[in-house]
Amino acid sequence: MAPAPNGSSSEDGAVARSGLRSVPPRPSPERRTPKDDLDFARRLSRSLNHQERAAPSPTSATPGPVGPFSRFGVAPHAPRPLGIGAEGWRTLLAEVVQLTHASSAFALDESGLLVAATGVEKDEAEGLGSRLIVAFEHVDRAVNQPGRSITIDLGPYSLTAFRGGAGAGSTFTLILRSQSALPDATRAAVVGLLQPVQHGSAK
């Protein structure tokens, strides 16, 4: 193969031609577990997504995209404090359970981490909840608008997920397990109970 356009023909130039420079290697990263690697990848995907959404349009004179090509993707998943505090959530869940006669109720932040729960174990809540959050997002995209709640009738019981704002642009999902689908009036009442979370007013 003929030399590359910017290569030299001398032996001494071989290293230069090769493009290899004697640079010291970077320090090895600390030993990580596979879980650490996955956490790193998740954070980086969100970080790159956040940077892209925050980046201003390029102003360089050289040809290039002039944007704003805002990023597709879900909102950043960093956990945020959710307005009403732990005690507030306990009170809220108790009221929701009393209103709906749900056998369990739990709330997750937008990254699927448990905020509060009653009547269900943490692992079960997070596992089920994260899938319902995904289902909610798929429904949003299917109908091209954000939904307020979804119900899944599983026969012996129903799952209802409500989405609410938690202030500062973050959201939460409240999930109820009940013997049957909630009547419209009850759903509306639950939505009303969730309003204080948006404004951070603890009961």
Partner: protein, 267 residues
Amino acid sequence: MTQRIAVVSQKGGVGKTTVALNLAVSFAERGRKVLLGDLDPQGAVGLALAKSDTALAGVTEVLTGRAPLEQALTPTKLAGLTLLPRGRLDPADVPSYEQALFAPDVLASMTRALEPRFDVILFDTPAGLGMATRAALTCVDWALVVTQAETLALRSMGQVLRAIEHVRQQQNPRLKVLGFLPTFVELKKDASRAVMDELWTGFAGVLDTMIPRADVFSLASQRGVPLSFLGGPPTPEARRFDQLAAELETQLMTGEAHGARTERQLL
């Protein structure tokens, strides 16, 4: 404004070339003028089209000065699609090829020369994060990350994202992640679904479109044609690439993210 996209992955065999080829076809069928550039020393695009390893001139000829860029382009029977193949490369010269591609401004100058003619420039890259992939990331606007819906691919995601972050910080601040495209998806299998669950819940930027594992891909490779060129009714898999093109086009051409659409008034 020409959109320049690099199709990348850390692992091999995830379907990069299949994605690059069929996505290029879908964009062209949607009326875009598309260039599909094959930067893979393996010449995977040519192989996918059942071409002999030495059939087509391309990037190699440009890098070695044996042909001008114009003569390295191959028109196709799809009006809007042009190929820039790898060219006639002796496997013994692969290291030199990658070094030449990675040299400052080499690929960028080729891209600049091609931009006025195309709406979309898609680069297929080799697996991994070597010089050819880095060269592509340095001169494109978008990285489309192809990831197989299996555990090892998931575990290596951090590597490709780190490379993208590094190029973005050091060399190409315009570089953005266009999205993560899952391939070989089998939702009825626990392992594949578990990976998909992790992608959907843990990662930002996972595309709605996913490419299932399907025998039709082997058939298309055997025939040396893109999916939509197979005889008979359009396959569901070919329609997936139409869906992918539509999904990406929305981001590329309108600047609206799925999750960030603002309400509009019709009247």
